[in-house]
């Protein structure tokens, strides 16, 4: 924890100073939050009429359906991205240049193209060639290509940063390349990289909201629809609050799971500490797409 590194245990004078700073800071933050809350109240965001939509069964059902579409895009996207990542990581690790070079190009390419552009390409561009994809398919395909490429790098870094002795010992026992990979390297790398993989899935979950831009009727799209309804006084802010709470809650659940795995890894003797810093760099330099 860095906070204990950077300063001493505060003495009496420092404690007084910190308390003063805290009071000033809290006052400033309270003023800012207070102002925003006052704007919310003043413009009637907390009026009963703007929240009455929650009571309608039809709207509750449509919320559940929108959430379902978000979650199914996440689930299908995650499975496809993990598969894509595994295949391309294996290809990049191959000793044959004619396998590893094209795989490297594909991975680098799809990491450089913005997801929005990919979605536009699949949804608006492809119909010109006679291929008509649904919004769901376009979203899921884009998620697979982008997050799959990132995951391929994560897998690769995990395998590369295992101690050399692991594969050497396996070869010394007479195992073949595939056996070394499947029986020795992969299980260890997967365990060590699991928290990173879950974090990338958080990114994938957030990315499903980009489907909004190609009229994929997911959670955010639902919020915008209900938020524009005149009969409830255009409750866009209330619906956005609900949608944000759902997204943040879901992502926090996944993040919490990643942290839990990381803690368990630290105690677990089966998990080998990764040797070089490559794996850590992947965690840090992991592209944070929307």
């Amino acid at each position: 924890m860095s906070s204990t590194v950077l300063f001493d245990v505060p003495g009496p004078r420092a404690r007084v100073r910190h308390r003063l700073l805290a009071v000033v800071g809290v006052a400033a933050i309270a003023a800012l939050v207070g102002y925003v809350v006052w704007r919310f109240i003043d413009t009637g965001q907390f009026e009963g009429r703007k929240w009455s939509w929650i009571e309608y069964k039809q709207i509750q059902i449509s919320l559940a359906e929108a959430l379902g579409r978000t979650l199914s895009a996440f689930a299908v996207g995650a499975v496809l991205a993990l598969t894509f990542g595994a295949i391309f990581a294996a290809a990049r690790l191959s000793d044959h240049r004619w396998v590893s070079a094209p795989a490297a190009v594909v991975v680098e390419l799809f990491r450089a193209i913005p997801l929005v552009i990919m979605m536009f390409f699949f949804y608006y561009g492809l119909p010109a060639t006679g291929i008509k994809l649904s919004a769901f398919t376009a979203v899921v395909l884009s998620l697979m290509l982008y997050n799959g490429s990132v995951l391929a790098e994560v897998f690769r870094a995990g395998i590369n940063s295992l101690p050399k002795g692991q594969s050497e010992a396996a070869y010394a026992l007479g195992m073949r390349k595939t056996q070394v990979m499947v029986l020795v390297l992969l299980p260890q790398a997967l365990r060590a990289m699991m928290p990173t993989i879950i974090s990338q899935l958080v990114v994938l979950l957030k990315d499903t909201a980009l489907g909004f831009l190609i009229t994929f009727e997911e959670l955010l799209y639902w919020g915008r629809q209900i938020g524009g309804q005149l009969q409830f006084g255009r409750p866009l802010i209330p619906t956005m609050i609900v949608v944000a709470a759902i997204y943040i809650g879901l992502c926090l659940l996944l993040t919490w799971f990643a942290n839990y795995l990381e803690k368990r890894n630290r105690r677990n003797k089966k998990v080998i500490a990764l040797e070089n810093k490559d794996a850590e760099m992947v965690v840090l330099t992991n592209d944070h797409q929307a």
Binding site: F7, P114, F121
Partner: protein
């Protein structure tokens, strides 16, 4: 090739807007991110709490949601009126600063404990220590992941396409209005992004190799 050459003005104008969006948001989120990181390592618990809360909430919110809020919902609050471009800069900066903060903080964590202890022994104050001892060293290990954060920001500017900002993502709209092939147009946009991002990725690899031996 035809789609690009016939609409060269359009491509130049829209990618110019992308770069403008990128430049504004990059500067603001860098400043805000470093400030947030200082909050997160400060000796005052309340400041640490505020920093942590901000980062946790923003990192778990989809960027599109931040955009929808600032473009469609924020006007209902009747505070200050924004243009679409300003709203996009605000949304991108709010989102990216949380990631910048985490990168800076992890950089601070890589500075050996002894450095901070030694500067305290010399009688430096917290701000002096952070400003002249810890942050300069932290910045070194921070550059490669920071480049990644900004690559992500560059790609994220395309989200503004859905919110009436005429940047690269919005080229599709303009092309389909002009009756051009959006398929080819999108391929060009993707290609230009690859050209923009690849040198940055390369730079990042070089910096990583050159600076990783520093300690």
């Amino acid at each position: 090739m035809g789609v690009l050459t016939r609409n060269l003005d359009l491509f130049v104008a829209h990618f110019g807007e992308t770069l403008r969006l990128f430049a504004f948001s990059a500067v603001i989120s860098l400043l805000a991110g470093v400030f947030l990181a200082m909050l997160r390592v400060s000796p005052v618990p309340v400041f640490r709490g505020v920093g942590t809360l901000y980062v946790t909430v923003v990192r778990n919110t989809p960027l599109t949601l931040v955009f929808v809020f600032f473009v469609f919902a924020y006007p209902y609050l009747e505070i200050i009126k924004f243009e679409f471009f300003t709203a996009a800069v605000v949304a991108l900066s709010i989102y990216t600063s949380a990631f910048v903060c985490e990168v800076v903080r992890s950089g601070i964590n890589t500075v050996p404990v002894g450095q901070a202890e030694a500067s305290r022994a010399l009688g430096l104050t917290f701000t002096q220590m952070l400003g002249s001892i810890v942050l300069p060293q932290a910045m070194r290990s921070v550059v490669p992941p920071m480049v990644s954060t900004f690559i992500a920001l560059l790609k994220n500017t395309t989200v503004a396409a859905g919110f009436s900002v005429r940047e690269a993502g919005a080229i599709r709209d303009a092309l389909s209005e002009a009756g051009e092939s959006t398929l080819v147009g999108m391929l060009w946009v993707a290609g230009i992004f690859v050209l923009l991002v690849m040198p940055l990725t390369f730079l990042q690899r070089v910096l990583e190799k050159r600076w990783s031996v520093a300690r």
